[in-house]
Amino acid sequence: MTDLPLTKNIDMSRAPFDIGQYRQAQGYDAVLQMFKDMAPSDVLEMVKNSGLKGRGGAGFPTGLKWSFVPSGDDAPKTKYLVVNADEMEPGTFKDRLLLEGDPHLLLEGMLIAAYTIQANTAYIFLRGEYLRAEKLLREAIAQAHEQGLLGKNIQGSGFDLEIILHTSAGRYICGEETALLNALEGKRANPRAKPPFPQVSGLWGKPTIVNNVETLCNLPGILRYGVDWYKALGKGGDAGTKLCGVSGRVNNPGCWELALGTPIRELLEDKAGGMCAGYKLRGFLPGGGSTDFLLPEHLDLTLDYDVIGKAGSRLATGTMIVLDDQTCPVGMVGNLMRFFSHESCGWCTPCRDGLPWIDEIFQRLEKGGGRAEDLQILTDHLEYLGPGRTFCALAPGAMAPLGSALRHFREDFDAHIHSGGCPWRK
């Protein structure tokens, strides 16, 4: 038993476990047991009961997602599992820890997921810049092949799985699961309309599950130690643990595995060592660049999907970006806007043409020449680029930090207009 199922093998001061060391630490036991004792439907039931939610950002229940994949005799024979390892959310570096720290944990998770939905081919769609992860994953896949944990008739189970590692040419939009599928097919990385969902018509038009790296890494623990153990890991409403990161002016920026339900203060003060000397916390984005700002008053909230949702933001990737009292919030948001604007795929009008306008306004605010009407235009875009208005979640995500910044830091925006540029630079 462990209470750190994701990181128990990880020690970044040494190389990650090879397959021998990983198996020594009971790695792949859960899979072998699964092949012996469990039908795919049993695994599905277990994952459903575990309460595991997707760790990529949306927090959708994993078991429920899997249950939409057609099964039985009438179902298409070809299905795919795709791992979303295209970690590009601003401020987010949690999947990297898993990929570089314990690649076999991901492969074991993939075996469980692929077996459950009966997919015989799985792709890892890896962010192109994660060169170290690429090397480690290639080695791990080769080792797993050698030991008969991948390939045909794995361990006599009758189940086949091939894993194909695909390194992305690099667009933020590839993190959107359907854009990822288009990119994997060699097409433009534009998102697809939903419905139909990838579970019904995904990669190459076949039923497909796209899961985040961290989500899959939760599976070996669930299978090995059971649903009750997994649920008990969470201290609040959500089950399991979560990788949480902190970046910004803190004493010890980094990424840790915490039980869901841990207070945010514990993450910021105990793990990240609190704010650097001379800096005060002004606000933070709790789950990466596309979440709403929370304020110091929210520090005692717990890291729970619902709790943070109720406070008006999202836990999302669980990687916090800290805004201190000596950094310009307008500059910070402007930087994000420039990123999102550049990363728009260009498919739908509000995102393609709205974000660059926002970006232009931020640049003008920065340089001086901003006008009161500019803030009205920014405000107008909040609804215009809001949920349901655009083709995918990129633009609504971009509006989260913008809208909350306009709410919480309005005086900074006004100051940019009145003092003819960024007051922090003067």
Partner: protein, 929 residues
């Protein structure tokens, strides 16, 4: 049927469609860009947002995209809701951010969907005050202008060009607000349907380059409903005229035929009308003193008198497959049926006659173009349909998507979800089996291709027939393709709606007989399989606008071209009238020269100067398609009327007007309608023409439908450089249209609309206002009448006796740009056309010792020609393909052919290499799915 409520009003709608389509079907105005009636929804532009309510108690509602939301029963939506209208005005505001607002100098202005939708969405004042994004434009060849700065990124161009038309050289490039729609590098857009970009693009990114050369606003064009003269498909067009010249052609919606799209020959061939090759004078060739033979222009009256004088004795007439039914009828009346001869080659006429007999057989159904799209298994026999009747090829490309349709239906994905259906189906396609001597443009969606000579194809078709019905007559061929035959037979038998497509371009009656036998075998198989007598779709592409009309007329009597030539050669007639025909294209040079040697006075009536009419004693200028009213019979046997767009200047007349009795003062005394009435009265086969005639009385409240828009400008000033009085408008007593701005647009028949226009809808997309429903029939629209009654007797299998040709096997190549005589005179088409060439395989090239682009000598026992050679990867072995263009007479190369390499010098090689560089050969096979 489902009921939906839109702003409190209930409508009955089709729940299989989306809300946008159904709102438009109901005549409601809802702006859109990325949706296209023929290409479905992708949800990109977000312009068609509406408010949807969960139920009657829901007062908040949600903004949804109408194009991406099914029109399910009980839906409650609002178009006028404030949040929805605000959102739509936001969308248009951001679409206009980088738009140059160059409407005054933009050729789309006045028929711009973006202008219309901007107005509809209520965007007036610009708030964006930063730098616009600008782009560099590309030279896209002779047809299309490119002005990327106007782009609003609706993605329609690539969805049409790549997804719908199978193009490969236009793409969405770049990302975010720098997304760019163009080619990977400058160069001619290769696809045969590139011209549709002009209409598919909602603004002025892609405009008609030929129109630019003599540009006029849409509202200043005089237009009338017309039919395309490019081939026998019968696509409907709207030509536009200003100041006596034809300015352009745009699509005119026909539910059963072309729908929303034309091919590039049809769209850009019109400029032949304004070409320097045009016959504009009446030319009389005679001996004049010391000058010898001269050609002298006559006045129209003199010309008519001269015609009468020359035709007083024993007169023969040669008709034309590119002249109207009226003109052919007028000629036949003038010379008498026994002296009327076919203007087609003998082989072509016998093929067309055989086709008519086949199409009249019960159980063999000739599909219209829309029906072609429904087929779930298509067999193409020999005809390179993309190059002979391109619009039909576009339909066959859609037919291969029926597998995708079926997959989507079982996955419960609505068919209008265009991207989703394509993603689901990937490379799954309905069977399209192509038999051809060389790779074709449709091969990229073919399930099976067979490269073989005509003889080999006949053997295969007979094999398929045998595999379906072992009682069919045994093949006499020495070839045996049983394995392929069995597989093709199996696919045809398994299909719900199989279709066999061929044509007469091979001029092989045996090929048509074999194809007919296959259709019969399949029909009998289907009859055995089902209680309901299921028919088999069978059609043959026709090369010219009235090939079918002339072939039908020839059934009523008359003689072959060769018998006419022999009469002329013997000098047995006192004079001959040759109607719109370059006889050198119809028979061997030797045969024509021999006929001319008979010194029979020759009267030619034609649109363009050509090798034959240069030798006529009297040459009379004939009106083009746009300059006359006329009736044309397409490949199905559908007779359609084209209206006169404008009265030609000078001496040009409709051919029949030269031929009917004429009054020296008032001109022709018989109208074309009378000729049709007489034809209908004389023959039961033409009786339906009366119905066509009666459909033309679209007059309401004594008002005609105007050919000029209500915004037509400068009427009183257009001739001010010549005289100061306002010219009396031309009269048109025989048609429901007037040469005027006055009248009532559209009285009862939407097919009579001169150009699609509705209040607030200035672009061609106004057509939705005149359809019964989106993609439906035109309101009370006349679709032409069928002249081929399907009441023929069931005939037994025909005997196929193919005699293998002596010498090397050959086939003749058609080119979309160049093979058709009239369009080939259009400068833009000429820019895409190539001179005559020959094609052979690598193996044959090696054995002949000829290199790529070198010269090949083709010789018969009486004729020899040297042609540059194209060595192709995908071509039948041991045969030679010949493209004649206007340089070589096909008939000269019939008979035993031999080929030999010609010593090449580097200059020749370089020039033919340059020539081939403009030839697009795209016969790639499908990507493996």
């Amino acid at each position: 049927m489902a009921k939906i409520s839109v702003d409190g009003v209930e409508y009955e709608v089709n729940p299989a469609n989306n809300l946008l389509q159904e709102c438009l079907s109901q005549g409601l105005d809802l702006p859109y860009f990325c949706w296209h009636p023929c290409m479905g929804s992708v949800g990109a532009c977000r312009q068609c947002a509406v408010k949807q309510y969960r139920n009657a108690d829901d007062k908040t509602g949600t903004v949804v995209m109408a194009c991406m939301t099914p029109a399910s029963d009980g839906s409650i939506i609002s178009i006028n809701d404030k949040q929805a209208t605000d959102f739509r005005s936001h969308v248009i505001e951001s679409l206009m951010i980088s738009h140059p607002h160059d409407c005054p100098v933009c050729e789309e202005g006045g028929e711009c969907h973006l202008q219309d939708m901007t107005q509809m969405s209520g965007h007036n004042y610009r708030r964006y005050d930063f730098k616009k994004v600008t782009h560099r434009n590309q030279d896209l060849g002779p047809f299309i202008n490119h002005e990327m700065n106007r782009c609003i990124a609706c993605y329609r161009c690539v969805r049409f060009y790549d997804d719908y038309a199978g193009g490969t050289d236009l793409a969405a490039l770049g990302s975010h607000h720098h997304v760019y729609f163009g080619r990977h590098e400058e160069g001619t857009l290769e696809n045969e349907f590139s011209g549709n970009l002009v209409e598919v693009c909602p603004t002025g990114v892609f405009t008609d380059k030929t129109f630019s050369a003599h540009y006029t606003r849409k509202w200043d064009l005089q237009t009338a409903p017309s039919v395309c003269a490019g081939c026998g498909a019968g696509c409907n067009t709207t030509p536009g005229e200003r100041y006596g010249t034809l300015r352009r052609i745009v699509n005119r919606y026909h539910h059963d035929l072309n729908g929303y799209f034309l091919c590039d020959r049809g769209r850009f061939g019109y400029d032949a009308n304004n070409s320097t090759q045009r016959v504009v004078e009446t030319l009389f060739r005679h001996l004049q003193g010391e000058d010898g033979e001269v050609r002298k222009a006559l006045t129209s009256t003199e010309a008519a008198r001269q015609l009468d004088a020359m035709s007083s004795g024993e007169l023969i007439g040669i008709g034309s497959p590119r002249a109207s039914l009226e003109s052919n009828m007028a000629l036949r009346q003038r010379v008498g049926t026994q002296n009327f001869f076919s203007g087609m080659s003998d082989a072509q006429l016998s093929c067309a006659t055989e086709v008519i007999a086949l199409l009249q057989e019960p159980g063999l159904n000739c599909p219209d173009i829309r029906t072609l799209e429904q087929s779930d298994c298509v067999l193409v026999v020999n005809e390179d349909i993309t190059n002979t009747s391109a619009r039909m090829a576009l339909a066959l490309r859609q037919a291969t998507r029926n597998a995708a349709t079926a997959m989507a239906q079982s996955a419960r994905i609505p068919l209008w979800q265009d991207a989703a259906v394509r993603e689901l189906a990937q490379h799954s396609r309905s069977p399209l089996i192509i038999l051809s001597p060389q790779g074709t443009r449709l091969d990229d969606v073919a399930s099976d291709t067979f490269l073989g000579t005509v003889e080999q194809q006949i053997a295969l078709v007979e094999g398929i027939t045998y595999a379906i019905d072992a009682d069919c007559p045994a093949s006499t061929s020495s070839f045996n393709f049983d394995a392929q035959a069995a597989s093709i037979a199996k696919q045809l038998c398994a299909a719900t709606r199989p279709c066999i497509v061929s044509g007469i371009s091979a001029e092989s009656i045996e090929l048509i007989r074999a194809t007919g036998n296959l259709a019969r075998a399949l029909r009998e198989y289907r009859h055995r399989q089902s209680e309901v007598k299921l028919s088999v779709d069978l059609c043959f592409a026709m090369p010219e606008a009235n090939t079918m009309g002339l072939a039908l007329l020839m059934r009523e009597g008359g003689g072959s071209l060769s018998s006419a030539l022999s009469i002329l050669g013997k000098g047995a007639a006192d004079a001959a009238i040759v109607l719109e025909n370059d006889l050198y294209r119809r028979a061997a040079t030797e045969a024509i020269d021999a006929a001319l040697a008979g010194n029979t006075p020759m009267i030619a009536i034609d649109q363009l100067h050509n090798g034959f009419n240069a030798k006529a004693h009297l040459l009379l200028p004939a009106a083009s398609m746009a300059e006359q009213g006329g009736t044309w019979v397409n490949y199905e046997g559908r007779a359609q009327h084209s209206y006169q767009v404008f009265q030609p200047e000078g001496k040009i007349r409709a051919s029949y007007e030269w031929l009917v009795p004429s009054n020296p003062v008032s001109g022709p005394t018989v109208h074309g309608d009378t000729l049709l009435e007489e034809l209908a009265a004389e023959s039961a086969n033409f009786a339906p023409l009366l119905e066509l005639l009666s459909s033309r009385t679209g007059i309401a409240a004594l008002m005609k439908s105007p050919r000029q828009s209500h915004r037509y400008s400068g009427r009183t000033a257009m001739h001010a450089n010549e005289h100061v009085h306002e010219t009396k408008q031309a009269q048109d007593p025989h048609s429901p249209l007037s040469f005027s701005m006055e009248g009532m647009l559209l009285q009862k028949d939407a097919s009579l609309m001169s150009a699609a226009w509705a209040p607030a809808w200035n672009s061609n997309q106004a057509i939705s206002k005149f359809q019964e429903e989106i993609n439906g029939e035109l309101k009370q629209g006349n679709k032409g009448v069928h002249l081929l009654a399907r009441d023929g007797a069931q005939r037994p299998y025909s005997k196929v006796e193919y005699v293998a040709e002596e010498g090397i096997a050959k086939y003749f190549i058609d080119q979309l740009f160049g093979s058709e005589e009239i369009s080939a005179a259009s400068p833009a088409i000429q820019a895409r056309a190539v001179p005559a060439y020959a094609c052979i395989s690598h193996e044959l090239a090696q054995s002949l010792g000829v290199q790529q682009h070198g010269l090949l000598r083709l010789s018969t026992n009486r004729y020899s020609v040297e042609l540059p050679v194209l060595i192709r990867d995908r071509i039948a072995a041991q045969c030679v393909g010949i493209y004649c263009g206007s340089d070589v007479s096909r008939a000269d190369l019939t008979g035993k052919l031999s080929v030999a390499a010609v010593a090449q010098d580097s200059n020749v090689l370089a020039s033919s290499r340059a020539m081939f560089s403009s030839l697009v050969i795209n016969d790639t096979l499908p990507r493996e799915g």
